[in-house]
Symmetry: C2
Subunit: 272 residues, 2 copies
């Protein structure tokens, strides 16, 4: 998908919502457990109920790997369902991968070619040759961890390296990687006040913002600091939407929760 | 596996060799491609031919994920084969995972419980709550990336953060994580001269050292700087062993290549 296509979908749907498909079998409605593939059944119902309210879905691969072969099968079925039925949706494999060059190439092939995701999240610690293999694919994106939403972000990311915080060094260094126009960045909503600083370094890049909702970040604050003339934001919510109810009404409840965020986004887009 | 068991295996086999099972279908002998599961057939033959020469195997998960469901199945069969036939072997899932707490817990469950690996490699960028879930499992180990063997390591790892190089900050910070006695560290052999500095911070920890062989690191130099009274080293070689031949003699050739490294290790152990 091109970024201009993504932007036009945001404008059409009045939404820059990304829904995290982090499916935990202990949290989904009990009646689904008798399905042949409960994870896919859950995802399909969530997608059917919410696809008009969001522009992206983000399965976190950990939740699928935790169920071994069956989990991997559920992930494949989910991405195939999205690609076949909703090609207008931007898909994110939240995998946080990164390895030496020839290995990163294998990961890029796995997520971009075999599974046909539009993007994959990447950890920056191993530097240039661990990231660039992901940037070789046209109309595919690597979403680099910059400043994450968890407490552990303060262990290293916000510490000062060569005169600036590590996350800024990551943003500045990555901007010089080959095909860096195919980079987006993860910036946690729990650290919204940092977004102003981040926008000075990457004024136009899309930011994937987790941490609104369950982790306590504020949508309005994120938009105040981080929104660009092309929006430039994908706001993720996972648990607050997909586990809005654990009864038989879970899909309707997810749509209601997504709709509240979508309406807030529409108001923000109309006001800006 | 306990570390004392690992150390006694090193002493019994006179080897601290780890063999990387990074199986690429374009590089394995052509005649294997007609097998029902070529990756597992290759791994099984390599394991059968080399298990007496090494103390650890390290499949890099990227190479399995690149083949989707079939690849994941090959990984499962490989780790089951090792657990059933060679429980004395230390197994490493080279996955370089790391995510927010509840997600890292899912990864830990996937690799330690479902697949029953002894250890998994972890990226440090997201800090404490991304690492600690891996340290909750008794006799299991998280192998944290400190200083990697690739060129991109110089992008961030060797830069100065709060007065010291980032990789040192990672080592010092991680030493304070809960259950940090279950941590080991990745230190690339291509940067052997850094090992002296690293030993000042983690004098007793096991180091997993990739980069000997194909990437150009020297075994003797690594041992000079990094070996402890309990050895404290696992030296990985992947391509140099498993692709020593791409003919029908691939397993014998792999054993020969492994045997050369094992003999060098035996000499070093005898001399020390």
């Amino acid at each position: 998908m091109t970024t201009s296509h993504l932007i036009s979908e945001i404008q059409r749907k009045k939404s820059f919502l990304c829904i995290g498909l982090d499916v935990d079998l202990t949290k989904i409605p009990k009646h689904l457990l008798k399905e042949e593939d409960p994870i896919f059944a859950f995802n399909k119902a969530i997608i059917d109920a919410t696809h008009h309210l969001c522009v992206a879905y983000k399965p976190n691969t950990a939740f699928y790997e935790a169920y071994g072969l069956n989990g991997w099968k559920s992930l494949e079925r989910t991405i195939h369902y999205l690609n076949e039925n909703h090609p207008e949706i931007f898909t994110i494999a939240d995998a946080k991968r990164g390895d030496i060059g020839n290995t990163s190439k294998m990961y890029a092939k796995a997520f971009f070619e075999d599974l046909n995701f539009d993007s994959v999240t990447i950890a920056p610690y191993m530097g240039k040759d661990s990231v660039e293999p992901f940037l070789e694919f046209e109309n595919k994106y690597a979403i680099l961890l910059a400043l994450t939403s968890n407490q552990g972000a303060f262990d290293f990311q916000t510490k000062t390296i060569e005169g600036k915080e590590l996350y800024k060094e990551v943003l500045e260094t990555a901007a010089n990687y080959q095909n860096s126009d195919r980079l987006m960045y993860v910036v946690g909503a729990t650290k919204a006040e940092y977004l102003g600083e981040i926008r000075k370094i990457v004024p136009d890049s899309f930011l994937l913002v987790p941490g609104v909702g369950a982790q306590g970040g504020s949508l309005l604050e994120v938009c105040n600091y981080g929104m660009t003339s092309n929006i430039g934001l994908l706001i993720n919510s996972s648990r607050g939407i997909i586990y809005a109810s654990n009864g038989e009404d879970y899909a309707t409840a997810a749509a209601q929760a997504a709709s509240i965020l979508q309406q807030q986004m529409e108001d923000i887009l109309n006001a800006s």
